[in-house]
């Protein structure tokens, strides 16, 4: 992979990180209402996956979906705008943090019902298959989501019909406040692919270049009609489940260990050892930081939706 491409990947990861830091700050200041589920620490997964996609591919994700939506290419300002509930937000303020949609870039919606988008992902993939577009669909969900019925039904059907869908399980060790062992009798979630005869693997979700490479392979399989893949990407969320969660349930030292494997640091390390200069790395980071700050200011200045706008877009006809 060319250095430029890798620098763009780094930039995207920085953008996601700064974006979430800003959300956190603004929420804590009470400037923004509603729940929020932040993504710091998991950036390598969605950035790596989406870097492996092509125009025309589609994506669905969860309420913890700021990262995946940005990684697909949604603009920073409109994404902020939606989370701020602004008229200029991606969804005119109707969706909010848990419901980001940018159809233009293939981001078909984040979903606040655990597991609900897995069957929907199949549908987008089915359409691509029927029309022979060669597109794939990337579907993000968490470890805890693998215990709900839709996971089972969706993976079964996807495998049966060889749908071009990539099931990306972001295993961040917790579902809300519950560690995996409290809810799930097996440790390796990729093993659940056996139930569906599905190509399945567990990967290091903090190594963005690995993620990209693995997903390129899986996408290639999917595009050529060989069916879906289940990818369990091991990662960690640096924050609590949502802004009201200080995460007291974490064992001592766990966060610190994962901070050492911060996906941004890991990529910077790779780039440095490949000869990229520290100033280049700093420049990328600062540019990203500024882009995020600018987008935030832009979006904050947008007007709130008019009250009557709440009646729009219930019906198409």
């Amino acid at each position: 992979m060319a250095t430029d491409e890798r620098l763009e990947i780094l930039r995207k990861m920085h953008e996601l990180r700064f974006f979430e830091n800003e959300c956190d700050r603004l929420f804590r200041q009470g400037q923004v209402k509603g729940p929020t589920h932040l993504y710091q620490g998991q950036e390598a997964v969605s950035v790596g996956v989406c870097a492996a996609l092509r125009p025309g591919d589609t994506m669905t994700c969860t309420y913890r979906g700021h990262g995946a939506t940005l990684a697909m290419g949604a603009p920073l300002d409109k994404t902020f705008g939606e989370i701020f509930g602004k008229a200029g937000g991606l969804c005119g303020g109707k969706g909010g943090s848990m419901h980001l949609t940018d159809a233009g870039v293939g981001a078909l919606g984040s979903n606040a019902i655990v597991g609900a988008h897995l069957p929907i992902a199949n549908g987008a993939a089915f359409a691509a298959m029927r029309r022979g577009t060669g597109a794939v669909h990337a579907c993000f969900f968490g470890d805890g989501s693998t215990n709900i019925g839709t996971f089972h039904e969706a993976l079964n059907l996807a495998s049966l019909w060889k749908l071009p869908v990539l099931f990306i399980c972001e295993n961040n060790l917790y579902g809300e406040y519950s560690p995996r062992a409290l809810t799930t009798p097996i440790e390796r979630l990729a093993d659940r692919g056996i139930s569906y005869g599905m190509n399945s693997l567990r990967i290091d979700g903090n190594e963005v270049l690995t993620v990209k490479e693995i997903v390129e392979g899986a996408a290639e399989r999917a595009r050529s009609g060989e069916g879906p893949t289940l990818i369990e990407a091991m990662t960690y969320r640096h924050q609590g489940h949502s802004r009201t969660d200080p995460a007291p349930y974490r064992p001592d030292g766990e966060l610190e260990e994962w901070l050492e494997r911060d996906p941004i640091l890991l990529l910077e390390g790779v780039l440095e050892s490949d000869g990229v200069g520290a100033d280049d790395l700093t420049r990328i980071r600062e540019e990203a930081e500024k882009a995020v700050a600018d987008a935030r200011d832009t979006a904050l200045a947008w007007p709130d939706p008019e009250l009557d706008e709440r009646f729009d877009h219930v019906w198409a006809s």
Binding site: C91, G95, T101, P119, G123, V314
Partner: protein
């Protein structure tokens, strides 16, 4: 013009929609190779192939989610829930996903999904396979709800549902599948959202859909012999409800009876009455009456099941009572 059954009308609508638009596909459990448990999809897979008429696993959530996802890409999925009661296992996909998808995206994404559901009492299927579940969805904004009673409506509304940009729940009544009726040789879609005045009358307006429509008509015939003139209106669509047509009927007769198969709580009949009483308060000579299914789950035994929903007898008695009571006030 030809005589066809309700079932044949559904089948023909599916075939015509499949033939007319490559984005249409039809899928569900045992609907392909076997042609469906009620044979409404018989012959479609032979004609249109396994790519467009698909059998699925027993996975109702996966079925409806796939419909939604494909619709986001502009396809026009027609998904079948074999028995309407099974909507329970995929309820989230209908009420939290399908109904809200367009709105949450601020209109970026339309989801032109049609869900076909076979509902209703009468087959000895007992509590979990006999319900008319149209009312489960009334409090959820974003779904059109269609309840055809005749072959012509079944055909025309199914074509309209498939062509509609919004999600439509299309309820086929199991007790009507073999009913016969006329269908044009070149039948056209029937507009969603229009009630039909199916019998003229001046003393009382009865609103009744699906299985209850024929019972209302039977009651009307019998009452005519007593010189009571009954108007019968079939709402045909429950959401959006055609208040204007029904309100106009009420203004002609000043007496209202709503007859529905399901129980009263949270029903379309109750909703209709609450709305009409608000908007047409002065048009009522007598209290509006809601004749509904019993306040119990549906029992299995034949006689118990038969006794459960309103009968023509009950309708006749109710109208007599109503007009008897109303007469003094009107006189």
């Amino acid at each position: 013009m030809a005589e066809v059954t309700y079932k044949e009308a559904v089948n023909r609508a599916l075939a015509d929609a499949l033939a007319a638009d490559p984005d249409v596909f039809v899928f569900g459990e045992d609907i392909g190779a076997a042609g469906g448990v009620f044979k409404t999809t018989a012959g479609l897979q032979e004609r249109f192939g396994r790519d467009r008429v698909l059998d699925t696993p027993i996975s109702e959530q996966a079925i409806l989610g796939l419909a939604l996802g494909a619709a986001t890409q502009g396809m026009r999925p027609v998904a079948e829930l074999m028995f309407a009661d099974f909507a329970g296992v995929a309820f989230d996909q209908i009420v939290n996903q399908l109904a809200k998808y367009r709105y949450m995206s601020n209109g970026q994404i339309s989801v032109p999904v049609t869900i076909r559901l076979a509902q209703g009492i009468g087959g000895g299927f007992a509590a979990q396979h006999s319900q008319s579940v149209e009312n489960w969805f009334l409090n959820v904004v974003g779904l059109k709800i269609v309840v055809p009673a005749t072959p012509a409506d079944a055909y025309g509304l199914l074509r309209a549902a498939i062509a509609d940009e919004d999600p439509v729940l299309f309820f086929e009544h199991k007790g009507l599948l073999n009913d016969k009726g006329q269908l044009e040789d070149d039948p056209q879609p029937v507009e969603i959202g229009r009630a039909a005045v199916v019998r003229q009358g001046s003393d009382v307006t009865i609103v009744a859909s699906q299985l209850m429509r024929a019972r209302a008509l039977e009651a009307a015939e019998r009452l005519a012999a007593e010189s009571i003139s009954v108007e019968v209106i079939d709402p045909v669509t429950l959401v959006p409800m055609d208040i204007a047509t029904i309100g106009a009927g009420l203004e002609r007769t000043n007496n209202l009876v709503v007859v529905q198969e399901s129980s009263a709580g949270g029903s379309w009949g109750a909703t209709l009455i609450a709305r009409l009483i608000g908007e047409y308060f002065d048009s009522f000579d007598s209290p509006p009456l809601l004749l509904a299914g019993d306040e119990t789950p549906i029992p299995f035994a034949h006689q118990l099941e038969q006794a459960w929903p309103p009968s023509a007898d009950r309708i006749v008695d109710a109208v007599r009572g109503l007009l008897g009571a109303a007469a003094p006030a009107a006189g």
